[in-house]
Symmetry: C2
Subunit: 434 residues, 2 copies
């Protein structure tokens, strides 16, 4: 008989639902299963759910990390027969309905893969080694530390060339993350750093944003692209459209046009790929995107007991032949929907197909400036910025986090400040990124 | 001619005051020098001033680190001709009035050493390697991460002996830090962990506090000692008086009585020693305490241009033949006092001797429980706790920090919660402590 370690989770008479990933999809599913007759196991590498849309504010000293993260155990403390495990999942063995994790193996009755995406460097080892990604709280903190450390170094540096490298901020990727980061750095340059570094010529700080397409925010409307470009240029950001960054050796960035820029601040937001797990057969994957092919019930093709949700799921529909956009809304909606379907399944009823309701998308560029694409209206400016703030505040988990983020925003707005500019744990270039 | 790198700080016609250390003493001096005719240089290894009395709340998930720290550049942004350098000072060369730092050398006209203390392991290498100290924000965060990680590991652990080691919290040192930490862990055990770890028997968590003297809080009154012991015992803390911890190998703790306890959470608050810098001759040091001998003007003996402040200064007076207590108040008062004296010195007037005004001392044990020694009154209980909160809130630097700490306290109080229990950067036992 095979020895099975059960990670100290006892088998009860309830069926076991195992969710891998505590992002939007996993958490929404778990919350919606409250009161259902399942044993629930949530596995994540972190003990918290992070609100990814605000990571860029952690990177740019606008918010402290604790206010955009929330302990998973606390979110789900009202679920009965619930277990959380902080672990990495290394593989799935569908033949015996089991997963292998860093802390042992576990059987499942239903397995839900909600692992999201990871940064895609498109196989370029130099980029992977030298670029700063921004997909997690520690990574966002690394960017905050590194950029502040580089300002400190610049202030004591007498060499003009070296100082320029320390003060050049290069962001690759003109999607929402890149646009929001560039805008936030521009605000630091305009309002905060001149007060902190009074002996420095702030014009030496340059912010560059690179986008391969011919416009910013490619998945959004033309209005959003045009307005965001206008806002960024007014803030002094140098936007390089139709430009791919081919290489970065830790010192010099090279574009596909042969242009080079010396920089010590190189942030990569130019692509993601699915954070897939070993064990699912190739034909059930979209190889290029690294997403699991699912049917309208989010079932991974060929595996009736395995589901995939959110960014990692590839659901072809008539309206979305290329799969749903990899943003929060499809993840949230699929998580809630699957909870209903699992309950139906248990009652022996048939599941209901998923239908995505696009609520629109938004990006903020800075003080009083944002762009919004609602289903029938694209616009930009103060009103979009106000809506952006309201929506993001209300989307945060927990009353405490909402109050603290709100207070920070009001404080920073009134004082033209970004108050969390602390190098709490200095970034070490030789440390493996986590 | 000797080549002197000036760390990119130009010589102006103003005399240069160099302050090493951005703790209470250094910051109070720097703030009080606002408007004076000096060039001011502040050097610290961190870019922020940390409010050390609340570090224990960072360790126990009550506060996020950003709310008890404040950027030094921001505190001093109104000072004219002010420079900050994030650097380590490696030595002092009084013969040429110069210091050597990790980012170059610097001449001074007046040098102020305000480096405080560091953890003292009394030469025990095993303790130094395996114990968690708590003198800085990163160290406090390490304790938070490690204790939460150990709870996660305990939840998935089937072995009773190993689980007990993960759930034993051993704190060495019955001074204010040790007492406050033990009380805060006891509150986590009582109110927070039972909700988070519903499948665990919370009684398996034990909190041990070790003190070499025959009473807790040895520098405080008998009333404070008695009350704090009573409060801790009511909270279920096992207090070991007259007990020295001789050894800890990362797994097993051994006392001078031969008792052993298996633990993975071992926090050392049992002693400090001066964080002195090379270059001052031996007769100007109190060798045992590692503090600089200063006269009533805080001048280091034999060095008219070098001053020492706060914890690192050893000023023998009639009322304090063993030097002032190493707490915030002498540092704050000496910092402000020295600012006056430096201004007098510049005007060719004679300096005024320092006189310490004891405002009393306090320690908090938990919800509604604290002890206070005011100059003519020692008491404990709810009123002491209320005073403790008010004094600490008002002592924080910055309106923003006060509001956020206040909100966190109110939130945690009402909800019997400690909301910041995030493992933002997992503690790695093999990482060098910083």
């Amino acid at each position: 008989m095979r020895q099975i370690s059960n990670m100290n989770i006892p088998r009860t008479d309830q069926k076991r639902v195992v969710i891998i990933g505590g992002g939007f999809a996993g958490i929404c599913l778990a919350k919606s299963l409250r009161g259902s007759k399942f044993q629930l196991v949530v596995i994540d590498r972190q003990n918290y759910h992070a609100f990814q849309p605000l990571l860029y504010q952690v990177s740019t000293a606008g918010l402290e990390p604790d206010s955009i993260a929330y302990p998973i155990r606390k979110i789900l403390k009202k679920n009965k027969n619930f277990h959380f495990r902080m672990a990495t999942v290394n593989g799935i063995d569908p033949d015996v309905s089991e997963i292998q994790t860093s802390v042992g193996s576990l059987e499942y009755d239903y397995l839900i893969i909600a692992t999201g995406t990871k940064t895609n460097f498109f196989g370029n080892a130099a980029l992977e080694q030298n670029a700063m990604p921004m997909k997690s709280v520690p990574q966002a903190l690394n960017i905050r530390s590194l950029s502040l450390q580089n300002f400190e170094r610049a202030d004591q540096c007498e060499d003009l060339v070296e100082r320029q490298a320390l003060l050049n901020f290069c962001i690759v990727g003109g999607g929402p993350t890149g646009v929001e980061l560039a805008g936030a750095f521009a605000e630091l340059k305009r309002h905060v750093f001149p007060r902190d570094y009074q002996h420095m010529d702030i014009d030496e700080m340059e912010i560059h944003l690179f986008e391969g397409a011919d416009r910013l925010l490619p998945p959004m409307s033309e209005t959003a692209s045009r307005k965001s470009l206008e806002f960024l240029m007014n803030l002094g950001v140098r936007v390089h459209l139709n430009t791919l960054v081919k290489d970065y050796d830790g010192d010099i960035l090279t574009t596909n046009k042969g242009e080079t820029i010396r920089t010590k601040n190189f942030i990569w937001t130019a692509g993601v790929t699915g954070a897939s797990i070993r064990g699912i057969k190739e034909e059930s994957m979209h190889e290029h995107l690294n997403r699991y092919r699912v049917n309208r019930f989010n079932q991974v093709k060929g595996y009736p007991k395995i589901f995939a949700l959110g960014d990692i799921a590839f659901m072809e529909t008539e309206r979305y032949p290329g799969g749903h956009p990899q943003v929060a809304q499809p993840a949230i909606q699929q998580g809630k929907h699957l909870a209903k379907n699992l309950k139906l399944l248990e009652k022996g009823k048939s599941m209901v197909p998923f239908e995505y309701h696009d609520k629109g998308s938004m990006a903020t560029i800075g003080r009083n400036k944002a762009v919004a694409d609602l289903p029938f209206w694209s616009f930009g400016g103060f009103f979009a910025w106000f809506i952006w703030m309201f929506v993001h505040l209300m989307s945060l988990v927990g009353f405490r986090n909402r109050v603290i983020v709100f207070f920070n925003w009001v404080y920073n707005y009134i004082n033209y400040d970004k108050a969390a500019r602390l190098i709490v744990r200095p970034y070490n270039l030789h440390r493996k990124k986590n």
